[in-house]
Structures are given as C-alpha cells and as structure tokens.
C-alpha cells in the first residue's frame, strides 16, 4: 500500500509544485531496520536549569555509539553538520523564567535538525512538586513540545518524557525508542516512566529472545505486523485468530516460525483454553498483545444491540476475560509479563458512527490504568497503544477523498503503517521497558483529532 501522494511530493516536479501551491509535503519516515545505528547522525544534549539527567543522557547515547556534540558548537554554527537528535534535560526547571533557557537551547539546535530528526525533552512530572511556579514551568513544556512537534517538518518528531526523581534508570528504554526509527509515527506525545526493577541489558538486536508472545487478531493487518516484529525481535509468537481466518493465520504463523491457535476469543472458555495451552505447550507467556478488534459502525440512534454487543465482546470484554484467565491460571503469565492492549484514537477523540467502537477502545484505557498497579507489584507492566490513521486493508476500502484527507490530518501529513504500531508494541514488550506502565502511547503522527 504505497502513499502515492507522498511519493509524488518527494519527486522532482512534485517538490516544485507542492512548494509553490503550499500543499502538504509528507516525508519518507526513518523506520527501524535490524542492524541500524540508533541515530543516523550526531545528537546534542542541552539543559534548562540545573538538571540531573544530562550526564546520564550523554553516557547512554555514547554507549549506543552516538556522537554527542556540545551545545556551543550548535550555537556557534562552526560546522555545518546536521543533527539527528536534540535532547533537552529540563529536570532543573524551578519556574517559568527557566523556560527561556529551553528556548535558547532548542531554537538554534532545532534549526539544524536533519530529516526524520528527533527532539526529546526530559522533565519531572508536574504533579511531583508542591510549588505552583515549578508545576507551571513543567506543565508549560507540554505546550512547548506539542507545538514544536507541529512545526517540525521532514518526518521529524518531538516528544516529552516525564522522569520522576528516582526513576532515572527507567529512562534508557524510552530514550532508545524515541530516538530510533521504531518511533517513526509517534509524535507530540507525553510519556511517564516510573521506578522499576530493571533486568540486565538484553541483546539490542533480539530484545525478546527466548520470550513467548501471544498476539490476538494475528491473521492479518496490524496483528500480522505485530507478529512479524515480535518474531524479528526474537520472540516465539503464538498467533491467535478466529477459526474462519485459519488459512491466513497459518501463513502468518509459518512465516514467523510461530504457532497458530484458532480460537474465538469471545467464547465462554476462551481464556482458560488459551491459558491452558500456553502453560502446556510453552511453559507460560511473557508478552500478551490484545490486538483483535472489530468495527460495526452506525450512528447511535440507528445502532442495534447486535452491533453494540459484538464490538464490546471482542474489543473489550475479551481483553478483560483473557487477561483475568491468564492471571488466574497457575504458571500462565510470567511474573515479568508485558501486556499491551490495542486501543484507538477513536477511544480518545471519539468518532462519528463509532459510539460502540470508541466506547470499547476508551474502556481498554480504563482497564490498563486500573490494572497497572497490580502488574507493577509483580514486576509486570500493562500498557495501551492507540493507533491513529493506519494504512491497512480496511482504510484501502475507504473512498479516495476521505482516505486522503484522513491520512493527512496529522503533523507528519501521512498515514502510519501497521509496522509503526507493531514497533511501539514490541518496544513496550521489551524487558527493559519495565518502567513504562499504565501508559497510553498514541501512534498517530500527532493527529489533529483528540490531541
């Protein structure tokens, strides 16, 4: 599924035309491939106030083979090298006046940002201080980052990570994610990390080696992409889908060297059945991806009970029931398990004709947040990923106009790919992501909807 407009806008004549007419100019996004360096160029680390993360950031970057240049070089503009990433340690903010330093650092650095560049701001959570002035300054960063994300062009993104005092070690995994091509379509987001017991560093190329991952709705679309990415990262994938999708499911399972399980997840005994098989065949499960979902769109006033109930059963109740069955079955869910639920932009912003779907997808967010403390206690995590406009077989059936407009209503001016959702899920599934829990990560290119 190629983006014909993006390809046109990046062609010789297309560049001229789109520039002159002021049309959107979507860029080719930098996406992750195994063996790729973390960043294609140098990074600069600056700070606003006396932060505590700058040295740690510099060390982490250097460990990953990134060249770190000093802000002075940026300011002086002595060499013409473009920057692949700009990182701001804003943990030193005491009040709004310190924000000027953020501007002073960011403005010249962002000017030299290379295509598909990354701006990442690290700060304390606003709620973590009793000083109104400090909370104001910390909150102000959200406005700064979200606006900057909208100003950036050429596939660059800006995101904000809240790092409370004591959770510094949890930063490494989100840092790598946001700088890498894995986060290509994650833009203008705010992520909070927490303190967590972190495992020893895993193999960067195979972070899920030896792990068993179950993916529902794996026969096609985003689910199949999730299965591929999890398998690429080393996991044995147990691919689940309805019996009627068994042919495609078997193909996906065979492609990724996994196991196919034909199962209607809304069945009465679906959870216990799956749990029993995971215990017997795989000795339990490390990663659970609740991806299966359906749409049955109608305006609320015209919606029959069947449409409402089927969407709720698949998109929400099955996630609750299967997770509960895994928790209840001895040995099914590994202590340090990672559960990732697929929510949706509709669940955040709402969508006309999708009261049932949006309700189910908002419900998923409530479920994840409610379970997060219990999961944290056992060393596990549960998070949600909310895709925006993702180019799939489903969107290919939309009318051309609706599709074209829908896909451009975001800061990256293009639809995301199933692999973008899959990469985000695979990152949350990593052992090193232990400090990311109860979060909702939108994969929407900073969609204008529900931002």
């Amino acid at each position: 599924m190629s983006d014909w407009y993006r390809d046109f806008a990046n062609s010789g004549v297309g560049t001229t035309i789109t520039k002159q007419l002021g049309l959107p100019r979507p860029a080719e996004l930098r996406r992750y491939e195994p063996g790729q360096p973390l960043l294609p160029g140098a990074a600069v680390v600056g700070s606003a106030g006396e932060g505590r993360l700058r040295d740690e950031l510099t060390r982490l970057l250097k460990d990953d083979g990134v060249t770190v240049v000093s802000p002075v070089t940026v300011d002086g503009g002595t060499d013409g090298e473009r920057l692949a990433a700009v990182l701001l340690d804003a943990t030193g903010l005491t009040g709004p006046t310190d924000l000027a330093a953020a501007h002073d650092f960011l403005a010249p650095a962002v000017k030299r940002l290379a295509p598909s560049g990354r701006v990442l701001v690290l700060a304390d959570p606003p709620a973590g201080t009793s000083s109104p002035a400090q909370a104001a300054a910390r909150q102000a960063l959200e406005g700064l980052v979200r606006s900057l994300a909208k100003e950036l062009r050429s596939g660059s993104t800006a995101n904000l990570v809240h790092v409370p005092l004591g959770a510094e070690a949890s930063l490494a995994s989100p840092l790598r994610f946001f700088l890498s091509g894995r986060s290509a379509y994650v833009d203008g987001q705010v992520l909070a990390v927490t303190t967590a017991e972190l495992p020893d560093a895993a193999d960067a190329e195979q972070p899920l080696a030896g792990k068993v991952a179950v993916v529902t709705g794996a026969a096609r679309g985003i689910g199949a992409a999730i299965a591929r990415v999890l398998a690429r990262d080393g996991a044995h994938v147990v691919a689940v889908d309805v019996p009627a999708a068994g042919e495609q499911l078997a193909q996906v399972a065979n492609e990724v060297g996994g196991t196919a399980v034909a199962l209607d997840i809304t069945g009465d005994d679906a959870g216990p059945r799956l749990a029993a098989q995971l215990v017997a065949r795989h000795g339990g499960v490390d990663v659970v991806v609740h991806n299966a979902g359906i749409t049955r769109d109608k305006l609320l006033v015209n919606m029959d009970a069947a449409r409402w109930n089927s969407v709720m059963a698949v998109n929400l109740q099955a996630q609750l029931d299967i997770t509960q069955a895994l928790l209840d079955t001895e040995g099914a869910l590994k202590p340090d398990a990672r559960v990732v639920s697929v929510s949706s932009q509709s669940g955040i912003a709402g969508n006309r004709g999708q009261t049932n779907y949006a309700a189910s997808k908002a419900g998923v967010i409530g479920m994840v947040r409610s379970w997060a403390p219990e999961f944290a206690e056992r060393g596990a995590t549960i998070n949600a990923v909310a895709p925006g406009f993702i180019v799939t077989e489903m969107t290919a059936k939309m009318p051309l106009g609706t599709r074209e407009v829908g896909s451009r209503l975001n800061s990256l001016q293009q639809g995301g790919l199933p692999v973008d959702v899959a990469e985000t899920i695979a990152w949350l599934a990593q052992p090193g992501s232990a400090g990311v829990n109860g979060q909702v990560v939108r994969v929407c290119g900073q969609s204008l909807l529900g931002a």
Partner: protein, 427 residues
C-alpha cells in the same frame, strides 16, 4: 533392534474443510491441498523448518506426474526439506493405512515422529489418453525413420481422441461402488428410513461439533472454505425422504444422494510420535494407536459384499487384543454409504453370519449407537477417498482425549477392491 515395541502417540491432526466435487477446490490439485494441509499442521505445532521422521500419504485418483506426490508436497511445505516421504495407496483405506505404517515404525523405534495423511480430488482428476491413441503415439515415439513415423501416425482415428475418464467403478465387475452397496443393502434388508436417520445424525453431530469449536484445532480453512461444503446442519429425515434413489433398482431401491457420500475434494494429516518426542517438543498426546488389522473379501466370485471386509477384520483385531465389540467408548465406522454402516453392524449382530462367514462361535453383538460417529462422519463431511482415514484418526484421538484417560475407540474403514482397514485407539 529395539528390544520391545511401544505404542505410537497421536499428537494431533489437521485437515482442510472437505469440498464437494467441482466446488470450492475445483482448481486445486492434490499437491496444493496436501501441501496446505501439511502447512496447517506445521503452523499448529510450530514445526517450521523441522525434520519429521517420515511423511506418508497418498491419493486414490492420481496423475502420472504425481508419482512422488507426498515428497513433492513436503518440499513445497514449511517442513525441513530433509524430511523423507513416500506414497501409499489402498483406496479408501489409504489414510488409515498410512497412519498404521507410521505408527508401526514408531513402535519399532525406527521413527520418533511422522506424519500420515491423504488427499483426493475428484475435480482435478487425471484423464488418460485413449488406449488406442496411446499405443499409436508409443509407436511414433519408437519409430526411427521419418517413413516409420508417418506410417505409425497413419494409425490415428477420430475415435481415439476420446480420453479415458476415471470412473468410480470396480474394474472387475463394472459396477459403481454404490451399485455394489445397493446389493448389500438389499441382502441385509436395510431400510430407507434407518439410512436417512443415520445420515441426519451424521450432519447434526458434525454441525454441533463445529459449533462448539471441536474442530478449531483439527481443521484449517482453505480457499475461503471454513466448514465442510457438504454439511447440511438443518437436514432432516423429512427432507431426505424426498430424494429419489440413485443406486439399486425398483421398489427396493433405498440409496439416495443424501444417504450416500458425494464425490469430494480434500486432504488430511495426522502427527504421530513417540511419547518421548512429544514430551521433548512440549506437545500433547491425545491417544495411542494400539493395533490395526486389514482384511479383504472376494466380492467378485465369493458372494460377499464389496464393502464388507471390515466385518472380517474387526473380530481378528478384537481377538488379538482380548476385547469384545462392546469394550469401546467410541466407534468410528466410515460412512461410505449409510447402508454400509448399517449392514456391517447387522452382520456383527447376526449369529449365522458370524458363524458361517466369520467363523465365530457367537455373534459380536450390537453396539451402543450413542457412541457411533459422535462428531459426524463421511455422510456429512464428505469423503475425499484417501483423506478420510486421517480425518477419522484425528477426530477420534481428540474425542478420546476429551473423554479422559483410558478411553478406547474403534475405527472401521471399508475400501474399494473388497478391502477393509480397522484400528484401535486408546487415550
């Protein structure tokens, strides 16, 4: 040499839904179907790239080019290319015979794992050159000079353009299998209604099994077909009663298109292994193949029905295992025709038949019909000849496993040429 034998475990199975002839699989070849079936089995048990001890399968209707059908299917599948394979063919007994062959090698310690299967298409059936035409062309091929060639070609006649189409008929009698079955049905006085009742039960049992997800881990959809195309969940004795007889003659004709199996396309495969291999691979053991027996009858001159051989095989098997016909929790009697199942059961109940034909002191007796084909059989699913054995073995193994340990099941399959293959499974 292995000091003693062991019982082969049935780990699981896979089949594609069976399609009616010239239906959903009209354009699929035997190799397409068998490869897809193997791939579904590979996906279910995570066997990608793995070497299985041996794959044994076959087809009844087979193109000449498919001389190495099973090996070619393995090469096209996701199994390791280092997996050996061979073809077998014993008419409708092919699938079960393949399972017995694999199980026996496992029992002897010659194999740790193996796949048994079968496939058949009546849609993509082989057509042979007219016999006269074939001889002319062979002569042309053998000719050395242009003159000889021209002279040989001169032997071609328009009539030779008519190809030889395979027929579902016995070469030695010229009778269709259904006609043979109709003779047996008449001999045993099998009524129309009891045949239709058996047929309805087969459809209802199969539909109920699908509805409760029983086949979720036994079937993988293929070419858009998710359930057996022949399955009629809403059929009834009243509906079947409206059908006209197609086999047999006159007033006494009872066999219709409803209570006879239709021509069908499909494939099945069963994964067998030693208990050790299954444990090493964290795979389940549904049941064990305990023993098997074949028999054949002289249906040409011997006054026995074409499809009655299982009636002879079962008592031999029972005697060897010290069992009676009633010592089973489930019976899988292949429904080639409803009348075949009923005639076989009646034969086992008959003191005269058991004494005179089977040489038994007492009849085998009757069985509890509630234990017969509990998840449907060929009348509902259809009967792609060589694929039926694999369907039955996997279905019965799962049935026994669900019922708990120590349960026993009997399989009885009749085959063309007056043959029968029977086996015992135990959970």
């Amino acid at each position: 040499m292995a000091p003693q034998t062991r019982k082969a475990a049935i780990v699981g199975g896979n089949r594609i839904p069976f399609a009616r002839s010239n239906g959903a699989y009209a354009r699929a070849s035997n190799q397409d179907m068998l490869t897809a079936t193997l791939d579904g089995l590979v996906a279910r048990f995570g066997l990608q790239g793995q070497q299985v001890g041996e794959v044994v399968a076959g087809a009844v209707l087979k193109h000449a080019r498919d001389f190495n059908l099973t090996r070619e299917s393995v090469l096209g599948s996701r199994l390791s290319a280092a997996t050996p394979a061979y073809d077998v063919q014993q008419a409708c007994g092919t699938g079960l015979e393949a399972a017995v062959l694999v199980a026996n090698k496992i029992a002897l310690g010659q194999l740790e794992s193996g796949i048994a299967g079968g496939v058949d298409t009546t849609s993509d059936a082989p057509m042979a050159l007219n016999e006269d035409m074939r001889r002319v062309l062979l002569a042309v091929n053998n000719a050395k000079t242009l003159q000889q060639r021209l002279s040989a070609l001169a032997g071609i006649r328009p009539g030779q353009l008519i190809p030889e189409v395979p027929r579902n008929a016995e070469p030695r009698t010229g009778l269709a299998m259904g006609d043979h079955a109709a003779i047996t049905a008449a001999e045993w006085e099998i009524g129309r209604e009891e045949q239709d009742e058996l047929t309805v039960r087969s459809h209802h049992n199969l539909a109920a099994a699908y509805d409760r997800g029983f086949f979720d881990d036994l079937v993988t959809p293929f070419l858009g077909l998710t359930r057996d195309q022949n399955l009629r969940p809403d059929t009834s004795v009243e509906k079947l009663a409206k059908l006209k007889p197609v086999f047999g003659q006159g007033e006494g004709a009872t066999m219709t298109a409803g209570n006879s199996t239709p021509l069908t396309d499909g494939a099945s495969a069963v994964l067998l292994a030693s208990d050790e291999w299954a444990a090493e691979h964290d795979l389940p053991v549904l049941a064990h193949l305990v023993d098997a027996q074949t028999a054949a009858v002289d249906y040409v001159h011997g006054g026995e029905g074409l499809l009655m051989a299982p009636a002879y095989a079962v008592p031999v098997l029972l005697a060897r295992n010290g069992l009676t016909l009633q010592d089973f929790d489930f019976y899988e009697v292949h429904e080639a025709f409803a009348s075949t199942v009923l005639a076989t059961l009646k034969a086992w109940e008959s003191p005269e038949y058991c004494k005179e034909k089977l040489g038994l002191d007492a009849p085998l007796g009757s069985i509890d019909r509630a234990k017969l084909n509990v998840h449907g059989s060929s009348l509902a699913a259809g009967h792609p000849f060589a694929a039926t054995g694999g369907r039955i073995v996997a279905t019965l193994a799962k049935t026994l496993h669900e019922a708990g340990p120590g349960k026993r099941g009997l399989i009885s399959i009749c085959a063309a040429g007056g043959q029968g293959v029977v086996a015992i499974l135990e959970s």
